[in-house]
Symmetry: C2
Subunit: 138 residues, 2 copies
């Protein structure tokens, strides 16, 4: 718990210092970007492992910021389809170097650095297996 909080706070501080949105936004923007055909909130929910109400409000913030557009969900009047806007793509891209640099700084020099793959494997088992790897490179 301590480790994850330390890491998260380091990343959050770096993003804030760079005038960028908080960390949660990154994952959400990334997942939405991966679905050019649009993605529905309930699908995001399982991918991001967020509670329903949390995601609902996160989306509201992203929409208000102009990073995400809501559209109707074909064939289901309850749902909606989310798409990334150009601004959304731009900010996600801008976030990555800052995010990555903060991570690098945190891990540099620790045992976890050389054994990252092993650490990731161990932790992945805890998330209920769930989702595919999250490869946020470019």
């Amino acid at each position: 718990m301590r480790a994850s909080r330390q890491v998260r706070e380091a990343v959050e501080r770096a993003l804030k210092a760079a005038g960028l949105p908080p960390l949660d936004w990154y994952d959400a923007l990334w997942e939405i970007e991966q679905a050019p055909e649009g993605i529905r909130p309930n699908a995001l929910e399982t991918r991001l492992l967020l509670p329903q109400y949390g995601l609902s409000r996160l989306i509201a913030r992203l929409v208000e910021a102009g990073y995400v557009a809501r559209g109707p969900s074909p064939g289901d009047g309850r749902g909606q389809l989310l798409h990334l806007t150009d601004a959304g793509r731009a900010v996600r891209r801008a976030m990555w170097p800052v995010y990555g640099a903060a991570l690098t700084r945190t891990f540099a020099g620790t045992r976890a650095e050389s054994e990252a793959a092993r650490l990731a494997a161990l932790l992945k088992g805890l998330t209920g297996e769930g989702r595919p790897p999250q490869p946020p490179i470019a």
Copy 2:
């Protein structure tokens, strides 16, 4: 991040279901209990890796719940000395089985279970080394 959130939420749910206080309280109660001569908030701050205002308010809640008593700090009129009350000891003790059981459930059957020591070592490097192990057994 996902792994730690999953674990934390599982523990929080278990504690709440048992009518017990949230997880943060456990660590704080534990650390205070370890210092029968009393401990000062600023010392707790470094042990718990909490921000100053967060700890200040956590202590306020613990005091209001009757689990912690504030006393004057000898030789420093600004400070205070915290002690656990009997109720505090009791609730900390009551929390542990629930806490532990939730952890066991989360780790059971994962690779992390058999490699707990390795995982702990990797993660510990990330917390800035900091503190001694946190052995909340009895």
